[in-house]
């Protein structure tokens, strides 16, 4: 058994979230497993349509029909001494899920303007979170909200308490969202591309703010992004996703120093890097296939430089441990030779 402190906060096991649309089943998340360590930062990186946002939303069960979590477990180890809570098994109306959402696990989104109510002041929105989850009066909630707004770096917090979202800049709105998310000192902050819509100088300040608050409050952060630069800056652990599956995962240094999956390698080579002007970029051929039209075998084989005909298009690789917690889902690292069996095909 693992020592208690090493028990991850969240263990995601073989999560499958599918969307049952008129055009067919879209397997947005299809067999994803990873851990979110306590107090650390996990980055999920991938291109659009890889299922990174749906994975994040699944953790809070924020999946609207026609989407549904069809199988898998999301084990929440609130207290290492207690048995874990499986979030997948909680009903939408249960007290327990409501207590977790917004209080123990909070989330911030890409577009702060649409995450905030346009007809309520930011102060009211922050205090509402506090009033909803904690037994405090209006006066105290307001005092705490002002303190939070000040802590996230909103100047003149007391007077900005009465400001509406449209009166704030994009960076200030995201700070207000962070204040709201952190109102009840969550154990996990899920951040879904929180800096993508912001300018680089603002992004740098928001990333610093999240890191500072994390150090102060000891929370874990699950950060969804498509920007490898942001990953390198903040991640402890990295999960690389492709077409609803985990292609590779490991600690940030081994992922960047020694990427093992052909997709991760190709991604790293396709980004223009500062200080290395000119020349041709190595691009990945083709485009990400539509999730409703997933290739057989390895989902990446249609674009892969190391494609082995007859194997990669027939065998669905498993996530293999190649040492030191570095896992790769690629047949180059597997001794799996036999085609998928009927049971796996049916799924």
């Amino acid at each position: 058994m693992r020592p208690d402190s090493a028990t991850p906060l969240i263990e995601v096991r073989d999560l499958r979230t599918h969307f049952f649309t008129d055009e067919g089943v879209v397997k947005s998340v299809d067999g994803v497993s990873f851990d979110i360590p306590r107090g650390k930062t996990l980055c999920i990186v991938g291109e659009s349509g890889c299922g990174k946002s749906i994975t994040a939303r699944s953790i809070l069960k924020l999946i609207a029909p026609p989407g549904r979590i069809v199988s898998g477990q999301i084990l929440y180890n609130r207290d290492p001494a207690q048995p874990p809570v499986d979030i997948v098994g909680l009903s939408q109306r249960s007290q327990e899920l409501r207590a977790i959402r917004g209080r123990e696990i909070a989330m911030i989104f890409q577009e702060p303007m649409s995450a905030l109510s346009p007809v309520h002041t930011i102060g009211d929105q922050v205090s509402e979170t506090i009033l909803l989850h904690e037994r405090v009066g209006r006066v105290e909630a307001k005092a705490r909200a002002i303190k939070l707004l000040d802590r996230v770096g909103i100047p003149r917090a007391a007077s900005r308490f009465d400001a509406y979202p449209f009166q704030l800049s994009g960076g200030m709105r995201q700070r207000a969202c962070i204040a709201m998310a952190l109102a009840c000192s969550p154990k996990l902050l899920i951040a879904d591309e929180p800096t993508t819509a912001l300018d680089v100088t603002t992004q740098a300040n928001i990333l610093d703010l999240i890191a500072e608050l994390q150090a102060e409050m000891g929370m874990a952060v699950m950060f969804i992004t498509h920007d490898l630069g942001v990953v390198a800056e903040i991640a402890d652990e990295v999960v690389v996703m492709y077409l609803g599956t985990v292609a590779e995962r490991g600690d940030v240094f081994s992922i960047f120093r020694d990427p093992q999956h052909p997709y991760t390698r190709a991604l790293m080579r396709s980004i223009p890097r500062l200080g290395e002007a000119g020349g041709r970029l190595e691009s990945i051929r083709g485009i990400v296939p539509h999730p409703s039209n997933r290739p057989t075998g390895c989902p990446y084989h249609t674009r892969c430089d190391s494609y082995m005909p007859g194997i990669c298009n027939r065998v669905d690789p498993r996530l293999e441990d190649i040492g030191d917690g570095h896992l790769v889902r690629c047949l180059l690292h597997s001794d799996r030779e036999t085609p998928v069996n009927a049971g796996e095909l049916a799924r």
């Binding site: 659009s48 994009g170 300018d199 100088t201 396709s270």
Partner: protein
């Protein structure tokens, strides 16, 4: 104003050195109106006294954060938005100068064959009710360049050239992915055989793997057709990759302009240096090295810009005197290197290290 300012005349590696488009003291101001009578209560100085040259065959990058006026500048060159003041001179031949701002509607339409745009969002910039063939051939029909089977042939050639299969020309835009749509937008821009293409955030909406494909395509097309690009973008690494020279804008003004390597290695304006320090580097071993140089505050409001140098409220080198009172002029501070900062010569600013030096 002096049309041949000698400080604006150092040729980039790709360029023949000849000025293709000269922009002098360009201003684009938008009125802020209020109430029933639309009384003007203020002015947004989106572009405020900007001068630069675009040389034939080069890629000039134009970077800055949102609201700095880079997109408005690109649009004003084509008179998609009407400039308030200044001049834009187009030199189709070495000794032929066309004053773009004096043209009537009909003449302007002719010139828009030479200067084209590629837009950011490949989803909203293509008419969903037009087929690919109709989209790409529209500029040819509108300008009476080709008809009938010649038109069909040209569309097929263009589609092939941007990496699309001509058999798909009857399809509608929604049948294509973002990267393919951007290729359609590029084919449309190239249809009239232009000299200058303004790429407005042309790869910003794309995933990195597709972004690399489009950047490579733009470079190939530049070599094949001798195109000149004005590449407007906010991503400093993309701009560095594709540009021969780079201009940096802040709140409506140009703050720095130099050859790409010079600008990135030896920035002379504190804003440029701060921008570079803010870009997250895709290498975890460099983590935290630039944390100390964070900019405070946010980009100023162009409707109510600060006095003097627009950057002074966020600048770590603000002297509280000249910086607050006097707007610095864009001047040559090193050969071919223009900067608008009172202290450009004296500041020691960190740029991006050359490869291998890290």
């Amino acid at each position: 104003m002096n049309m041949h300012d000698p400080t604006l005349e150092t040729p980039g590696p790709n360029a023949s050195g000849r000025t293709l488009l000269g922009v002098r003291n360009l201003k684009v101001h938008f009125p802020i109106t209020k109430g029933l009578l639309q009384r003007q209560v203020g002015t947004v100085k989106a572009v405020d006294d900007v001068s630069f040259d675009i040389r034939e065959g080069e890629t000039l990058g134009l970077v800055g954060e949102s609201g700095c006026g880079k997109t408005t500048t690109g649009r004003a060159l084509l008179r998609v938005v009407e400039p308030t003041a200044g001049s834009v001179t187009y030199y189709p031949e070495p000794d032929l100068a066309v004053d773009m701002l004096a043209l009537g509607k009909r003449e302007l339409r002719g010139l828009r064959r030479d200067i084209r745009m590629v837009l950011q969002d490949p989803y909203s910039s293509l008419n969903p009710r037009f087929t690919v063939s109709q989209i790409v051939s529209e500029p040819l029909r509108a300008n009476n360049i080709a008809t009938g089977s010649e038109l069909e042939d040209r569309v097929a050639t263009l589609l092939r050239r941007v990496g699309l299969r001509p058999e798909y020309r009857g399809r509608y835009p929604h049948a294509f992915s973002g990267g393919e749509r951007q290729r359609i937008g590029i084919a449309r821009a190239l249809a009239t055989d232009p000299k200058l293409v303004v790429c407005d955030e042309a790869v910003s909406a794309l995933d990195v793997s597709v972004q690399a494909q489009i950047l490579n395509l733009l470079s190939d097309l530049q070599d094949d057709f001798g195109l000149t690009y004005l590449f407007v973008a906010h991503d400093l690494s993309v701009v560095e990759h594709i540009s021969d020279r780079v201009a940096v804008m802040y709140v409506g003004r140009l703050v720095e302009l130099a050859d790409t390597a010079e600008l990135y290695r030896r920035p002379k304006h504190p804003y440029t240096a701060a921008l570079m320090a803010s870009v997250p580097k895709p290498d975890p071993t460099l983590r935290g090295k630039s944390r100390r140089h964070r900019l405070q505050g946010e980009v100023a409001d162009p409707a109510n810009p600060p006095s003097g140098c627009h950057f002074h409220p966020r600048c770590p080198f603000n002297d509280g005197d000249a910086c607050v009172k006097q707007a610095p002029e864009l001047r040559e501070v090193a050969p071919g290197h223009l900067a608008a900062c009172h202290y450009a010569e004296r500041l020691q600013l960190a740029g991006i290290a050359a490869p291998g030096a890290v």
